[in-house]
Amino acid sequence: MFDFSKELDLEAQRRRAAFYFLAPMIIALFCVAAWPLLRTIYFSFTDTSLTNLYGGEWIGFDNYLQRRELSSGRVIWRGTLVDPAWWNAVWNTVRFSVISVFFETVFGLGIALVLNAEFRGRGWVRAAILIPWAIPTIVSAKMWAWMLNDQFGIINDILVRIGILERGIAWTASIDTAMTAVLIVDIWKTTPFMALLCLAGLQMIPRDIYEAAKIDGVHPLKVFWKITLPLVRPALMVAVIFRMLDALRIFDLIYVLTPNSKATKTMSVISRENLIDFDKFAYGSAQSTLLFAIIAIFVSLYIWLGKVNLSGEGNQ
């Protein structure tokens, strides 16, 4: 039993220590993230252009939604919120994120379960599955563009040889297959990330639980549903959040693979296009801000619906 006052003292001391421990991280994040972020939000309410970064004037919500009356008295609405290209990008992004993260989670967990078993050459297999993640995105995107080429692409060649396809298809060119191509590459590339995080979670589960279950003769599937999954869930939830955040912001893969296909243009791609290429810096900033807002809503929903335990209360 602690002396009550001593315990209080200890708590206070811990809190003070906690503050010192948190301070460097908060300062670092404020500099590299909060400041640029606030700048972008500010720009989205101005008419700033890249030609004149400091000469923008405050125009309120006009980049988002603006009511204009034509000389004929007809009223038209302008701005990102009524821009069909933007909503197309939102839909593409959401579709891409949900599908890719779903498959990555399933495959990642599967691979992690395999790697968690003991077998010869496990170290090599573990290194091998990390290769897709280790290749720089700009390179792997180009590599896949090459492999998915309709004339000298090896994917078409394989599919034709085993009789799935009659003739090579132009994966990245056709509107029907562009998204599939992007999904294939992204799932291939990022499943290792999920697998590794799941594996780290699995390794934290004590072996004796499994042994006890084995002795009791519990069916392996039941072991998975009743023991493994609940225990690995916290790690899995965190991994899914981060993959989701990455997927919603996806940029470089699409930028290299199918930069101008309207079937794959995502929010990041379209906002870059406006920020840099089209000289609509403020408009692009508004889209970036919206992207931020959409992701925030998505993640809040996920945390709320998935009942992710943020503070860890009740665990201790």
Binding site: E11, A18, F43, L53, V125, I135, S288, T289, F292
Partner: protein, 279 residues
Amino acid sequence: MTRTPWEWTKLIGFYALVVVIVVISIFPFYYAILTSFKSGTAIFEINYFPVDFSVQNYITVMTGRNFVRSVINSVYISGFTVLLALFLAVTASYALSRVRFRGRSLLLITILGVSMFPQIAVLAGLFELIRFLGIYNTPWAMVLSYTIFTLPFTVWVLTTFMRDLPIEIEEAAIIDGATPWNIITKVFMPLLWPALVTTGLLAFIGAWNEFLFALTFTISETQRTVPVAIALLSGASEQEIPWGPIMAASVIVTVPLVILVLIFQRKIVAGLTAGGVKG
């Protein structure tokens, strides 16, 4: 030891699964290696097995301007990024997971929020900051800016892991009068190895592969990192893409990562000990 037919089927099935996973993972890389040994028009032809064995592409890359230098830069920058991220994250996660204070959830959400912003949107602001700090065109520009994606992730993963560790292991240390710093280094670090190695590795790879910041924040050829150096490999003209050298360079930069994984994979396995304490 004899096995029943059912056990044999299971075993073969298991290894078949392993083989499928490995083949899918490494096939594109294998194809890249294959391509890297080809030259000229042969690149446009499809082969499944090596036909050509020309090391010309590797010579082109390695003797190319500053390629070796950019590999060293990348190692240096990624290494420091990982150290910085882990140092900041371990201390912060300790506070976030083991100390009760008001606004803890809010702080965690905010940290998560940081990774919600598209890279392209923070680029202009970061550029201003880096010029303000006077670290433009130095490795520190990258080390600092990479914390934007390594730190939130590292903090979150480590917080989750630390929170799951039982309170008893800490209690004993507290009663012994250990300072919080000692508790982190002596009690938690040994238990956190698998998580540290995993997150460190992922942070390393993230920093190793980053392109946009590295291109924007450097101007000297001698300061550039590997992805930028690869993007700078070019054919004899604007429209030509030098597939051979690009593939050779990709192979060269991927190999160190594979070696890293092989070195640290034992540490990843070491998670068993952490579980042992819990059980």
